[in-house]
Symmetry: C2
Subunit: 462 residues, 2 copies
């Protein structure tokens, strides 16, 4: 699919009439939107970038683009990892970052409605005085619309769930030019097909998310974080498995392997042991947090885990989790000049140790540097390959990645726990879903028959 140039020019003219200087065709703006920030994929810039301020403007943009056969790529904070926002076929990138109003907070119902461009940190800052927070935390300060679109999760998902569980409803502009509200504010509903969950994770290929209604939670009375080093990766992971099987409601259980801890110490100025390590966070009442800590300490002791290094003050916890969130950058700093390629899989928890250990061996045998971090309470982990451009390392990394995904699928897992398909995982969707991909194609054809909504991502119908 390539956009007809004459049609494109007409569309851009009409969009400029609509938006004035909130349309840009400048080289720098287009380049910024060619990949997003954190991706190893080849860039492909859009022909123009628009910055709508409302759902109604998005609707008008969609109508113009649809009338002229121009692809539309929604764009939030640009922090996606699998090429989800690359303008593969040119067209118009719809940057929602100016749609950053918190529309409504209902503290009494523990929900909030935000425009798609509001970031998770912005929302949590806004909520500070209400005693509430939004827990889903993918690390990057992603936009909530983008997080919805990729079905993001992150460190808190083991207790609070992912975007899938924490969205009550969406406002979506459809390819055929309608504004659809997919849900109200009731906690549950069995009224018709679950349009909310259909659009969550659809990566902008079925419609453009412009508003999100989210579940909120009370800030826990007590929060405590702790770091614990283990003699081996296996011991760390086996501790996690037992903690999950015991039903202890830990809020965060993050694994950083020895390579990653070395990188984190250097980059974030920490002095932890260079060992396979778990970061924990406990939420609850004082009594409940104390009980959880006791239960977890008993388990990790059985697996040779060291003493807990606690971070109880908000400042210390913030420093700890910032170090965790900075793994992308700390890893890059481990090998300056290298390209960082983060990938992820998710497996049933009982297979996690085996999947991790075999993958780590494979990385070593391939002669690659690739620290491992994981939202291990969910069975989800990330390998970040550090490859030297111009060498064959990228090819070797591709092979290791392919084997890791095949291994995860063999174990009943998934080719991506939270990064999405974008273009990076296209080849693996079929292996995972088989005949289900045909159903996905039927859905795509039904809701976007002209294939203008983020074309080439998730499923190909061209």
């Amino acid at each position: 699919m390539a956009t007809n140039i004459q049609h494109l020019d007409t569309a851009v003219d009409e969009l400029r009439d609509l938006l004035g200087d909130r349309l840009s065709t400048s080289e720098s703006v287009r380049t910024h939107h060619a990949t997003g920030e954190e991706t190893y994929h080849s860039p492909s810039p859009p022909d123009a970038v628009v910055f709508p301020a409302s759902t109604e403007e998005v609707l008008a943009i969609v109508k113009i683009c649809a009338a002229h056969g121009v692809p539309m790529i929604p764009f939030g904070a640009g922090t996606s990892l699998e090429g989800n926002v690359i303008a593969l076929h040119g067209g118009v990138t719809i940057d929602l970052s100016q749609m950053n109003d918190v529309v409504q907070v209902n503290p009494e119902d523990l929900d909030a409605t935000v425009q798609a461009g509001v970031t998770r940190k912005q929302l949590n800052t806004y909520l500070r005085d209400t005693g509430l927070f939004f827990p889903v935390d993918p690390g990057a300060d992603a936009s909530l619309g983008g997080m919805a679109a990729t079905r993001a999760s992150g460190t808190n998902a083991v207790r609070y769930g992912t975007m899938r569980e924490n969205i009550l409803g969406l406002t979506v502009v459809t390819a055929d030019g309608h504004i659809v509200k997919t849900g109200g504010r009731a906690r549950k509903s069995s009224a018709g097909y679950d349009l909310t969950r259909l659009y969550v994770g659809s990566e902008g290929t079925l419609g453009i998310i412009t508003e999100v209604t989210l579940r909120l939670y009370g800030i826990p009375e007590a929060v405590s974080a702790a770091v614990c080093a283990f003699p081996s990766l296996e011991d760390a992971v086996n501790s996690v498995i037992l903690i999950i099987q015991s039903g202890i409601p830990v809020a965060r259980i993050e694994l950083l392997d020895d390579v990653q801890m070395d990188a984190t110490n250097r980059y974030s100025g920490m002095d932890y042991a260079v060992a396979n390590t778990l970061f924990f966070e406990f939420h609850g009442t004082d009594a409940s947090v104390a009980e959880q800590v006791g239960q977890v300490r008993d388990i990790v002791a059985d697996f040779g885990g060291g003493d807990f290094q606690y971070a109880v003050s908000a400042e210390d916890r913030s420093k700890l989790w910032q170090a965790r969130h900075d793994v992308f950058y700390s890893t890059l700093a481990l090998r300056p000049g290298s390209l960082g390629w983060p990938t992820d899989v998710c497996v049933p928890i009982s297979r996690l140790a085996e999947c991790l250990l075999t993958t780590k061996e494979d990385i070593q045998e391939a002669g690659l540097i690739a620290p491992i971090v994981g939202h291990v309470g969910d069975g989800n982990f990330h390998v970040q390959f550090l490859v030297e451009p111009g060498t064959d390392e990228i090819d070797r990394a591709r092979e290791v990645n392919g084997r890791m995904i095949a291994r995860a699928l063999d174990m009943g897992g998934t080719c991506t726990g939270e990064h999405g398909i974008g273009i990076g995982k296209l080849a693996y969707l079929e292996a995972e879903h088989g005949a289900g991909v045909d159903v996905m194609r039927q859905l795509k054809r039904a809701l976007d028959p002209a294939n203008l909504m983020n074309p080439g991502k998730v499923v190909s119908i061209s």
Copy 2:
């Protein structure tokens, strides 16, 4: 849509060749499948009922019916309430009750895969020795396939979520004759469109669910139940609102109004006060249950709640919840010869008291008898109209129901929290979803273009 008689006869012949005596055209079997057990809707029998034993047999049945243009209605335990299984246009009812194998239990991953006909009680009996249980509990001993198809929930949903949150994956036979597995056993995935959630709640209109992979939970170390009477409905509901807002992880919070308590005392041989009453259940460690009970007692005391009557032993709790689950029957016994019509709405928790009280006034002003019970922790409640056949009570009940739904929608709620659309709520789907219903129709047309999958339910495309 009416089935061509010649085509029907051919299809039945082919199905008999396939299934032998697992196909029935007897009057009694067809009548049993004309409505299911608990519905006020007019019956409409299928032309034949088939009893497949495997997904492959369902596939063969679907291919035969599709080839001859014959409607297919999946049927589990027949406990749905909104006419979800009525054979509106005749055709073949696919009764999945013989597909009742527990396929696989993975205690180490807290999941199980069952055939669609396995009931929730059957699964929990099967799991007894594993220390695990499946929490979703709609009261009736529904099949897990049916519960998936209607997005069921019930008493435990306030803590454990509904079928939406507790299904990892499904096996579905599609209208075009394929077997699709919608998910693996990973706790989360962002690999493509969420087919699992698309089929959950689709009431058999997009495909036939033949297997379900479910999340399991450890049986809590401590369980305690308690009953508490209140001076008014408002006091009871305001207690619930504060409990939910405080984030206390109560496992069950059920409201029974004074009319219902009278019915329950009589039917279940209880001697509770005839007052607006809450039934609680607390799950956790000993310490956590004690803490929750203390927190909840403090809150209810502020609203004039009476002493807690505890049920701690498994036997006492079982008796208590059986009484709760029997409300359908206890209500009917309140007025022998009357027709029971249970309906439900769900609203944001802050609006629950207002919605309940106004509805109760409306019931009284209309001169109707209609006890109220509710999964009030979710903002979900049921009105069970008791109408005398042959009078205008059914019309008055329809009006009260319509006003209640309009009220719930005005409050940001939904026309059904857990019963589904079936045919009973068809008229309200449009009011709730507006342009979203067009998207639902596009999905239905894409996945079932011949409109043979439970036609006439959820959305109409004929």
